[in-house]
């Protein structure tokens, strides 16, 4: 499989504290990869390192073989799109304006959006089933709708690689499935490579072809859901007793929590 992103020996964090330490990870074209791990294990920091919000202290990240820090920001965002966790938007932009912003990386300064940009924005809205919301204000939407609109904006960037930081947090189970079904569809039909940070182990198991388990800023284990989601791995990392069964429907691992006494 062709590597689209390769992270080599990466360390980084904030001020004097290294959160992510010596991580090496490859993402292949067509992957739907989930990053799981306890709070504070470095998942979001990795997300921020890849999205160039913070600079690595050591190591490098390469996109199709090129160091991302050497790529102009604009070129980078034509290839990689990010959906952050809990974006709070203070100004009442319409959904249509928000999605059109996804075209910014493709436009020159002063260049107005053209017919092509409008049709891409429209397609992104219909892919995420939000076309009917186009004239609504972004801050009037429910969390599920907003999340879908933000995914639509990322799609309007026409990326090869999509990163999402906890795309299903704050959503009810119906909306969680809706978002993840959408991502799976994009992955299978549109060949979009997707990396997402997830908290729910069972959703990670259900939807991803590969799982990376983080612990204390390092990769504890990576591989197929079956390889990663064993009770030994989960108990070691989360310090919680679990039982792992096979999901009767798809035979993927299914994690059952056991309460402490």
């Amino acid at each position: 499989m062709e590597k689209i992103l390769s992270i080599h020996n990466l360390s980084g964090g904030y001020q004097n504290e290294l959160i992510v330490r010596n991580i090496s990870l490859d993402v292949s074209k067509g992957d739907l990869l989930s990053i799981i791990g306890p709070n504070g294990s470095g998942k979001t920091t990795l997300f921020r390192l890849i999205s160039r919000i913070i600079k690595p202290v050591q190591g490098n990240i390469a996109l199709s073989g090129k160091d991302i820090l050497r790529l102009p920001l604009k070129d980078f965002s034509c290839q990689v799109a990010f959906v952050s966790q809990d974006s709070i938007i203070n100004f009442s932009f319409t959904v249509w304006e928000i999605v059109l912003m996804g075209r910014i990386p493709h436009l020159k300064r002063l260049q107005a959006e053209g017919a092509k940009d409008f049709s891409i924005a429209e397609k992104s809205l219909s892919l995420t089933d939000t076309l009917h919301l186009r004239n609504k204000m972004i801050n009037e939407l429910s969390s599920g709708e907003r999340q879908r609109v933000l995914i639509a904006r990322a799609l309007a960037q026409e990326p090869e690689l999509l990163f999402l930081d906890e795309p299903t947090s704050h959503l009810d189970i119906g909306h969680q499935i809706q978002i993840l079904d959408l991502l799976r569809k994009l992955n299978l039909q549109d060949k979009l490579t997707i990396v997402m940070v997830l908290h729910d182990l069972n959703l990670a198991s259900e939807y991803s072809n590969r799982i990376v388990l983080f612990n204390q800023g390092k990769i504890f284990k990576q591989g197929s859901p079956k390889e990663v989601l064993t009770y030994q791995n989960i108990e070691a990392v989360y310090k919680t007793v679990v039982v792992v069964e096979d999901n009767p429907i798809n035979k993927k691992p299914y994690v059952v929590l056991v309460s402490g006494r």
């Binding site: 160039r52 952050s84 203070n90 910014i104």
Partner: protein, 321 residues
Amino acid sequence: MNNKYKRKTILLLGLLLVIAILGIYKGAVDISAKDLWLIENRPILYLRIFRIITAIVAGCGLSVAGIVLQAILKNSLAEPYILGASSGAGLGAVILMVLGVSSIYIPGGAFLGAVLSIILVYNLARQHNKINEQALILSGVIVSVALSAVIVFLISVSSKDTLHSITWWLWGSLQVYDYKLLILVSVVVFTGVLISYLFAQDLNAISIGDEEALHLGIDVEKVKKFLILVTALITAGLVSICGIIGFVGLIIPHIMRLVVGPNHKVLIPASLLSSAIFMVGCDILSRTIARPLEIPIGVITAIVGAPVFIMLLKRKHMPKA
């Protein structure tokens, strides 16, 4: 731009034209429309035209500086003087007045004071070479309070004469006698406005969030620094010729955001036109309600602006601050 905006733009342009003509015919001295064009009354005509130009320049500059800072600080309650320009300029001017320096140097002193205070505020708010929004607002407030205290101290120990010209200056005036200075400031202001408009799409993204903007390929820190510099020059330029005119940079962007939405590609032109109308209108009031005395323009903008702003705050559709 679609038809919806075209109609509004034409409407606003028409309104500006009407109010500008009204501004030429109304003033402290009551002259009939016909007599105003007589040769002997030319100086009055020119003064009034200067005032209208100054009003338009000040309105445009203050509203755009307000818009840019509101986007950068993600706070629709930010205004051009939030970075301490007003008190810095005030102090610069007051020092020169107290020292008895010729009044032609006062704009220069004010400009320098404004620029220095913005530099101070900016550096106080910088952490690890990044601008922290909260820190910027906070240090702006602190520097403003400290410099205002020095202004009041200097006024207290100086003679009564200085006091009057300082009050006049601290509440703003649109009477510029030096047309060369007016041209210079207009060039600075409109260059700043144009640059801000070129960054309209960046401002849209930044107003949503710095990280979001970075995800869209915008070099956020660089753009923010550059645009803060631009607003600093606009504000310092204006404060050096007109003194401090409050509320315009706050309410006009606010009202226009309610009317045309937060998209800067539309918001900036709409605010330019309506702030020009607002300022020319306020200037007419300032010249006519207590004829032949002139009320400082800042007093009028505050008296007109505050109730409008309170009404907006009470309205349901208020964008979240």
